[in-house]
Point group: C2
Chain length 154, copies 2
């Protein structure tokens, strides 16, 4: 709303409220992301956060990654491998999104396999620890023989 800090053409910094309004996340979430190292800010003379415009793209990338099921810690790790003082490029985005699409695909594949097993088990209902693929997805138990399970498996 204000044009105080120079001519609008040259104003490149955003307040936290502006970033919230334009990115669709709450101010408290931006604070939170900053504590987690997902975004970074500079401070003005009054200790208020000032963001470079590139933060909008960063937040967008974070939100998309979250939709694909990537935990914030992993997003942070991926972003921190990139320079944090320049905007993300289209190339950065392509690299990140390709990786995340892979993990999304894995998730989809796992869920699809689960759905197929569920479908084939609906009429069965055995749910036996030893026999049912739904209960024993990785065949972990048969790996060391049958019988009752170990107490409190890792």
């Amino acid at each position: 709303m204000t044009e105080k800090e120079g001519h609008w053409k040259f104003r490149r910094e955003l307040s936290v409220g502006e970033v919230a309004a334009r990115s669709g996340v709450a101010v408290s979430t931006l604070h939170f992301y900053e504590t987690k190292g997902l975004i970074h800010s500079l401070r003005n003379r009054g200790n208020q956060r000032r963001y470079p415009r590139g933060v909008l793209r960063r937040v967008a990338v974070i939100k998309v990654a979250q939709r694909t099921g990537i935990p914030l810690a992993d997003i942070q790790a991926a972003l921190s491998a990139l320079p944090h003082d320049r905007p993300l490029t289209v190339h950065d985005w392509a690299a990140l999104s390709k990786r995340w699409r892979e993990s999304l695909n894995e998730r989809i594949d796992k869920l699809t396999a689960l759905r197929d097993q569920l479908t084939s088990c609906i009429g069965c209902g055995c749910l036996s620890m030893e026999d049912c693929p739904l209960r024993n997805p990785e065949d972990t138990l048969n790996a060391r023989g049958s019988g009752p399970q170990l107490i409190e498996p890792t």
Copy 2:
């Protein structure tokens, strides 16, 4: 291990440790499920939990539902609509698993759509709140016109 409580042929109750060993969940988890109303137990003279054998099937159903992404509260709601003093029947299981398969299918469909959008956006990288389908999945913003977003949307 013990045959104390009657001839083995008639022993129908399980201790919490036995349930843990046979179901593959921790004792603490069984306690936790009980506080959430997901499973139920009787107590012996010494105040120790004694479970009817049907609890094994219940725990199995809970774990399968969790794999499909159903929250415990929903699982509890579904299970509590059934009599809690008899084992789950194959028919119970069929009804539950059909519902859960539906919600699993919805999850898969959403993730698949997301993956397809991600794929088509990898080369783009605009991530604009207004234009990018990845950022604006439900077209919530255009529903009330364009421009900057409302602050702190619900």
